[in-house]
């Protein structure tokens, strides 16, 4: 349904969305965050969270060595712990990641479209996307044009996402809304729907490169959006909070939100991801603690 809408139709549907009550949304997220997940549920939640991680490195200092090290960790994080969902890198490191992960089942995700600001001409963003896919990216994490969005040009944002979707053919497309720059919940809801109408396979909160990254209320709101979008169109879209989720306790709060907002259908790495780097080691430490009954400390998980 998404792809057959014109830009004007999509924009007017999005503009007509009902508002979000900020106080109520935050209260609901805070309420869900009080769930107590212990013992065998915690063990399951930890393994599920590990399997949902897009293990990420997005630094100017990234090298093939760093990416290989991360890939090895993603495939076999610790003992019998599950692999992560993907390794997420800049486009120039996709060949390295693809070679390191070939045949492992761990996906290669690449940011593209002039990440993180996206402030480069569209043809360059499209070329960036095409080259990442050609180099072996299974998944593309694009950024939306926040400048166009905030200036009210929703049609342009819609067309750009559709163009990137076409350029990323063969890969799953995650659309980064950069919610920290959209600021209001109303705009997060609008951007979520716009991205879904344009064909996003995932909607993702953040680049991790601005002051405010993933928060529980924003992610809950995006979960409500994918839930409602499927009810309307039959099309299921995934959700990826990214940036700022560093420990097990926080990750479990997100899983509780999926559990009580979206249910089983989204409780797998096919439909939910964490964009994170340091989260993995905290999950592994908690995993060891559950197995052995005591904390082992950071020297017992690898630095990659």
């Amino acid at each position: 349904m998404g792809s057959i809408l014109s830009g004007t139709e999509a924009a007017s549907l999005v503009r007509a969305l009902p508002g979000v009550d900020a106080v109520g949304l935050e209260a609901r997220a805070a309420g869900l965050a009080t769930r107590s997940v212990k013992k065998e549920s915690k063990a399951k939640a930890i393994d599920l969270a590990i399997s949902m991680i897009d293990l990420t490195t997005l630094e100017g200092a990234d090298t093939p060595g760093k990416v290989k090290s991360l890939a090895a960790k993603a495939v076999r994080p610790d003992g019998d712990a599950p692999s992560t969902a993907a390794v997420c890198v800049y486009p120039s490191l996709v060949p390295t990641a693809a070679a390191a992960l070939a045949g492992t089942g761990v996906k290669v995700a690449s940011v593209a479209t002039g990440f993180p600001a996206g402030q480069v001409p569209l043809e360059i963003r499209l070329a960036d996307t095409e080259s990442a896919v050609r180099a072996g990216a299974d998944e593309i994490d694009m950024v939306v044009n926040r400048g166009a969005f905030l200036s009210g040009d929703l049609e342009r944002v819609y067309h750009e996402i559709k163009a990137v979707k076409a350029a990323a053919e063969g890969a799953r497309l995650k659309v980064i809304l950069e919610t920290g720059e959209l600021v209001t919940y109303d705009d997060v809801r609008r951007a979520s729907w716009l991205a879904m109408y344009a064909g996003a396979d995932f909607i993702k909160t953040s680049t991790g490169k601005v002051g405010v990254n993933a928060t529980l209320p924003v992610t809950l709101l995006m979960m409500q959006a994918v839930r409602d979008y499927r009810a309307l169109t039959g099309i299921q879209v995934g959700v990826k909070p990214a940036g700022g989720i560093r420990n097990t306790k926080d990750a479990i709060k997100y899983l509780v939100c999926i559990n009580e907002t979206l249910g089983d259908d989204w409780l797998s790495n096919e439909w939910f991801r964490f964009g994170a780097s340091s989260l993995l080691n905290d999950l592994l430490m908690q995993r060891q603690k559950l197995k052995t009954g005591h904390y082992s400390g950071p020297d017992y998980v690898t630095v990659d």
């Binding site: 508002g19 979000v20 009550d21 109520g24 609901r28 769930r35 212990k38 599920l48 009580e260 409780l267």
Partner: protein
């Protein structure tokens, strides 16, 4: 679905096998030796036995309160009274988890609520009123500086207080904190089914070195309450049913006793078509399923605009299906036990009437524990204004859903009740909130939220929901001779 393993609260308060009456700073048995039992409503096990106060005990307690008021508490400076109240507030905070578990055991409500709402809010009431104790001249408009030598307004004297079982420690705080801050002494009767936290509070008063007789706690049933109302107190403060409130008003009529009553309600929660629907659904759930619906100001009537009714109901049912009903001490429990067999029978009876009168009943599929008093969260749709479930207070997890076409119709349906305690309005439009709040005949109108309480905010009803305010500056006037 990913299941949450049981997460029982591990703190266990020291509950005695037997509690006495708390009179003049000491625990003592009833003059006639009467005793009753308190049950854990989630298991039907006996938690403890407790002395039942009779007329002689009421006389003794009121006399003790009179002595304390005249000799110690009344003459004491506001600053000193404030110190005691601050001490009580701090002790309550320090022992918060213990009180939370005890409240959950005796009442059946989930630990999540006692831990995050009942006990912290009770402590807040003591902190708030402790601050007022030495500023009473500013509590009454026009009073400051006018009294002789800048004197404070005077207390009433001895106050008889009768509280309900739905928020035992919180209602105790609402009653005792302002009374003591103003210089009164109190004789309080906790509800028959939930005396535990009031008795633990009595122990806490001993720990705080509160002068004997300032606070007296008399467990008992209706007869004890009646004896207290008819005793020589200067004021009666009551929270509970409208029927009992009416009897109290009759009993004190023609006497010099002042009275405040906080009674029943049948609040309308109005959802307009321009509301933020997901958050409105949360508010509906919070409005009626908070504390098993044992809330006088519960949003028990949902008035939803017909154009969005289908969507709201679909979302509401989906949400209610995620509520976790069960062991009140499990930290993940959303809905606990019904407080008593008697209350369960009343809820069950009214729900049956709802079905007989032609409303459509819906309940989520959820397992209930075998023992104890339980009722599934229930939504009645197709409810008409003429049905009993739209008129009578059910005081349980039962929501009656009605629809309206225009804002005027919403207001007239909302006001079409003898009660007038609270109401809710859900719309993204500020002007509509103000328009509705002006027209709703209710003591509290919540906008885009529900069941919010604060010590600084006066609470109370209109019409048959009672009179007098509790909390805030307005609440102090009910305990001052002005």
């Amino acid at each position: 679905m990913f299941e949450y393993a049981p997460a029982p609260e591990s703190v266990r308060p020291q509950i005695k096998e037997h509690y006495g009456l708390f009179i003049d700073g000491r625990f003592t048995d009833a003059a006639d030796g009467a005793v009753f039992k308190s049950l854990n409503p989630s298991t039907e096990e006996i938690l403890f036995t407790v002395a039942e106060a009779g007329e002689a005990d009421v006389r003794a307690a009121v006399a003790a309160a009179r002595r304390a008021q005249e000799a110690v508490w009344g003459p004491m400076s506001g600053t000193e009274r404030g110190k005691y109240l601050f001490r009580i507030a701090r002790l309550l905070q320090e022992r918060a988890r213990e009180f939370a578990v005890a409240e959950s055991l005796d009442n059946g409500k989930p630990i999540k609520e006692t831990r995050d709402f009942d006990v912290p809010t009770a402590a807040q009431h003591f902190f708030y009123h402790a601050g007022w104790a030495d500023k009473l001249a500013f509590a009454v408009p026009g009073f400051a500086g006018q009294g002789p030598g800048g004197a404070d307004p005077k207390p009433l004297g001895v106050v008889g207080q009768v509280i309900p079982w739905n928020f035992p420690i919180l209602m105790l705080a609402w009653k005792i904190a302002p009374a003591l801050a103003c210089g009164n002494t109190v004789v309080l009767k906790p509800a028959e089914t939930t005396p535990l936290t009031a008795l633990m509070f009595a122990e806490l008063c001993q720990e705080a070195d509160l002068p004997p007789g300032v606070v007296n706690i008399l467990p008992g049933a209706g007869a004890t309450g009646s004896a207290l109302v008819n005793s020589p107190v200067d004021k009666v403060a009551f929270t509970g049913s409208t029927a009992v409130g009416r009897a109290i008003a009759k009993a004190v009529a023609g006497s010099k006793k002042k009275v405040t009553l906080e009674l029943g309600g049948k609040a309308a929660n109005i959802v307009f078509d321009d509301a933020a629907i997901d958050q409105a659904v949360e508010g509906i759930v919070n409005g009626i399923f908070f504390n098993q619906g044992h809330v006088c100001c519960a949003g028990s009537r949902l008035l939803v605009q017909e154009s969005v009714a289908e969507e709201v109901l679909a979302r509401l049912k989906e949400r209610v299906s995620t509520l976790r009903v069960g062991d009140p001490l499990d930290k993940n429990t959303d809905i606990g036990a019904i407080n008593s067999a008697e209350q369960l029978a009343r809820i069950t009876g009214l729900a049956k009437v709802g079905e007989e009168e032609g409303a459509d009943v819906w309940q989520p599929a959820c397992d209930l524990p075998e023992r104890g008093f339980w009722f599934r969260p229930t939504v009645f749709t197709g409810v008409q204004q003429s049905m009993r479930i739209a008129q009578e207070e059910i005081f349980g997890p039962v929501l009656s859903v009605l629809t309206f076409r225009t804002p005027d119709e919403a207001i007239s349906k909302a006001n079409n009740t003898p009660y007038g305690l609270s109401a809710g309005v859900w719309t993204e439009k500020g002007s509509k909130i103000l328009w509705a709040a002006e027209r709703l005949r209710a003591g509290v109108v919540w906008a885009n939220t529900f069941n919010q309480f604060d010590a600084a905010s006066p609470f109370g009803g209109l019409k048959e929901s009672g009179y007098g305010r509790e909390g805030g500056r307005q609440g102090l006037e009910a305990y001052l001779d002005v």
